[in-house]
């Protein structure tokens, strides 16, 4: 007996692999297709393991580019974006993208190198306390102390990033942990007692909303990015169409409800449509779905939906009641909640008067701008883009005027076509995000709509287009200024254009050509159409520098501190 016991023990093989190998295996277990990253000292062991691994790695030209690309990838694929950077400056260069993902709920798993455990806390070369730095801007973060913890931590990180309210999770790996050998263990079940997101709605609250609907004469839906995150587009359409409830969309929620649907009122908020904002203002039942009632959407809260019963559906309980008190709070994901609502649907509503007045608002006060033969209007650029791409392109933007025009005039009828930095408002986001989007969805045309200011913040990523021959079209809405800053200075600071005019700028076409990329500068409609059609057909990267009227403003507009009904510039 004893002899056989010894023999049995011998057959138990403990195969040891390095932390870096465990990292690769962890990613493969999560079906990761691509990593966006940048190497450096502390991640040398990981990059060495990557050298042999069959994992696509996109080398950006700056860590900020890597994380924005991962964000763009996550937005259009619905899968988590994966980022890898070194310790110290590599890690701190990611901070903007991490904060951006946090506020816009984008699922990312970010790996940073760290100095070896023996020297952590000694101000070693390229040491930064990235776990401390990113604590308030991540959904969760880890520092791996032992190589054998890596598989569990990676598994947990992907779970946390992609469930509940999605968000960025950071894993900091000290150099020695990546080198040390550890036992390979089969992935076990995830055990996180402090993390149990509520996905299914409370039936009682669903019933209350159904009852409120029956009482309502002026219901309106405010659909946010939570609809897209939960892939609840079909459920939303069914719900809205069954009752005939008009739909207002948030900036980040665009694409969650087809723009051409007669119930669509367009985007609400600071630069939203008249119909959308008045619907929110006059409504008697506001149903917020996966939207967080951001200040750019609500305007002055004293005037926001003041006659409305507010029903708020959100997967994150902390969002409910945060900015706007909710009479009917429903914690649950948009898909589950809308399904429950659709299954328990009551009588259809008779709200013809409401439809009539909203239709009036739509036809009386549509989005408008003055066309001008001698100049290319930025709004027109967006309309031409929409036409040339048949509304089917992925559009990625920075922040500012061009972003608002794209949101207003590129009518999204399908989900996961719109990538924009909403909450954080990050300049330099749009172009790298478009790169990530193209890698995630090579089948679709991808257009980076950027301003001349923002493009100069991350244009080094042209190197990635050249490297991967990615047919991303960069459309620069060039007004030789930081347009939104200029607009505010014009309206609120008596035209004192302090540091907002960018008269001196590079020749963007020459710049593109330095990277081996074709480009064209256009100043009128005809050239724009021709160049765009050619670029779309060529399946090559292209930079389109659109010289637009410099003094155009985004309207309608709600001035800060004003209510939704106090829009200016409604009539163009």
């Amino acid at each position: 007996m004893k002899a056989s016991w010894v023999a049995e023990k011998k057959t138990v093989e403990t195969s040891l692999v390095s932390g870096a190998e465990l990292f690769i295996q962890g990613l493969q277990n999560e079906q990761v297709e691509v990593i966006f990253g940048y190497p450096g000292g502390a991640v040398l062991p990981i990059y060495d393991a990557l050298y042999k691994a069959e994992l696509k790695h996109v080398l950006t030209r700056h860590e900020q580019g890597a994380i924005h690309a991962a964000q763009g990838y996550a937005r259009v694929t619905g899968k988590p974006g994966v980022v890898l950077a070194t310790s110290g400056p590599g890690a701190t260069n990611l901070v903007t993208g991490i904060a951006d993902s946090m506020i816009d709920s984008i699922p990312l798993v970010i790996f940073t190198g760290q100095v070896a455990t023996q020297v952590i806390g000694t101000d070693a070369f390229q040491e930064a306390d990235i776990v401390g730095i990113t604590m308030p801007i991540t959904k969760h973060n880890y520092q791996v102390q032992k190589a054998e913890d890596l598989p569990r931590i990676i598994q947990e990180a992907f779970h946390i990033a992609t469930t509940g309210r999605k968000g960025p999770v950071l894993i900091d790996i000290p150099k020695d942990v990546a080198v040390k050998a550890a036992e390979q263990k089969a992935p076990s079940e995830i055990r996180l007692p402090g993390y149990q997101p509520t996905v299914k709605p409370n039936i009682l609250q669903v019933k209350r909303l159904n009852e409120a609907l029956q009482q309502s004469k002026k219901p309106v839906i405010l659909a946010g990015a939570g609809v897209l995150a939960a892939q609840a587009e079909v459920e939303l359409l069914t719900f809205a169409e069954y009752y005939g409830i008009p739909v207002v969309q948030t900036l980040l929620g665009l694409g969650g409800f087809p723009a051409e649907n007669s119930l669509s009122l367009g985007m609400g908020g600071m630069h939203g449509t008249y119909a959308a904002n008045m619907a929110l203002y006059e409504s008697d039942l506001l149903i917020g779905i996966g939207a967080r009632f951001d200040d750019r959407l609500t305007g002055n809260l004293d005037h926001f939906a003041k006659d409305a019963v507010v029903a708020h559906i959100d997967v994150d309980p902390a969002e409910i009641g945060k900015n706007v008190p909710a009479e009917i709070p429903i914690v649950g994901c948009a898909k589950e909640t809308l399904s429950a609502l659709n299954q328990s649907a009551g009588d259809k509503l008779n709200i013809k008067d409401w439809h009539y007045s909203l239709t009036n608002y739509k036809t009386e006060f549509p989005l408008t701008y003055k066309k001008n033969e001698s100049e290319l209007k930025p709004q027109y650029v967006m309309e031409i883009l929409h036409e040339a791409t048949e509304g089917n392109a992925i559009v990625s933007t920075d922040v500012g005027q061009h972003q608002m025009w794209a949101a207003q005039y590129y009518k999204f009828s399908t989900s996961n076509r719109w990538i924009t930095s909403g909450g954080l408002g990050t300049m330099g986001f749009g172009f790298p995000a478009a790169i990530g989007a193209k890698i995630g969805r090579p089948d679709l045309p991808v257009i980076a709509v950027v301003g001349d200011g923002g493009f100069q913040m991350t244009l080094q990523e042209l190197g990635v287009l050249q490297d991967w021959e990615l047919p991303v079209i960069v459309v620069i809405v060039n007004n030789k200024s930081l347009g939104m800053v200029r607009q505010w200075q014009e309206i609120f600071y008596e035209k004192r254009y302090s540091q907002s005019l960018l008269d001196i700028q590079p020749d963007f076409i020459k710049l593109a050509s330095a990277y081996g990329i074709d480009g064209q500068r256009v100043e009128n409609e005809e050239d724009l159409r021709k160049a765009l059609t050619a670029a779309l057909r060529s399946q090559k990267p292209f930079v389109l520098d659109c010289v637009v009227s410099a003094d155009e403003n985004v309207y309608p507009m709600i001035a800060p501190g004003k209510g939704l009904h106090e829009m200016i510039g409604v009539r163009g």
Binding site: M135, G194, P317, A318, A326, P329
Partner: protein, 172 residues
């Protein structure tokens, strides 16, 4: 208004940092905070007292804390029947004349003398914050050299009022 919040957390490095960082980020000011192990060594309990403007802010605080991955459970104990205690160590200046006077004075507070020197005595008192405050005020005329307070730790009583009488939150 004052709120006493109890959080059950994973006993991992950085949890306290996460918790206090969150309060700073959301602009809550911590009055006092105590941390210690529970019956399960992998789990710790944090009791904190914070000042908040209104119920909505209090609700936000509980929800935001609850969102943290390694915070397992959060309870607002303010409106619950609870026992709460704080410990204070107080060093009071003494002269041969006042020494016995102080000893008499602290008796109703069930405070004990931990250390005596020629110039001062160190006292220990345990009780709710009001009791500790009262003793400190009483001792102030003698000259207080140093005070060290632990902050409140609390636990709900075994028998609670009916749920309906408690302050209702919209959710959670």
């Amino acid at each position: 208004m004052k709120r006493i919040i109890s959080a059950t957390v994973m006993n991992e490095s950085g949890v306290l940092n996460r918790l206090t960082g969150l309060l700073t980020k959301r602009q809550f000011n911590i009055e006092d905070i105590t941390v210690g192990h529970t019956e399960d060594p992998s789990i710790s309990k944090v009791t904190l007292t914070v000042w908040v403007e209104d119920d909505r802010k209090a609700e936000q605080l509980v929800k935001q804390l609850h969102k943290q991955i390694n915070i397992i459970k959060v309870r607002d104990l303010t409106n619950m029947a609870l026992v709460s205690r704080e410990l204070a160590l107080i060093k009071v200046l003494t002269t041969p004349d006042t020494r016995s006077e102080i000893k008499m004075l602290i008796e109703p507070f069930r405070a004990t003398v931990l250390d005596v020197s020629l110039e001062n005595v160190t006292l220990e008192v345990t009780g709710d914050s009001e009791k500790v405050d009262a003793l400190i005020e009483l001792l102030r005329p003698y000259g207080i050299k140093e005070i060290s307070r632990t902050g409140i730790t609390a636990i709900p009583r075994g028998t609670q009022k009916k749920v309906l009488e408690l302050h209702p939150y919209s959710i959670m």
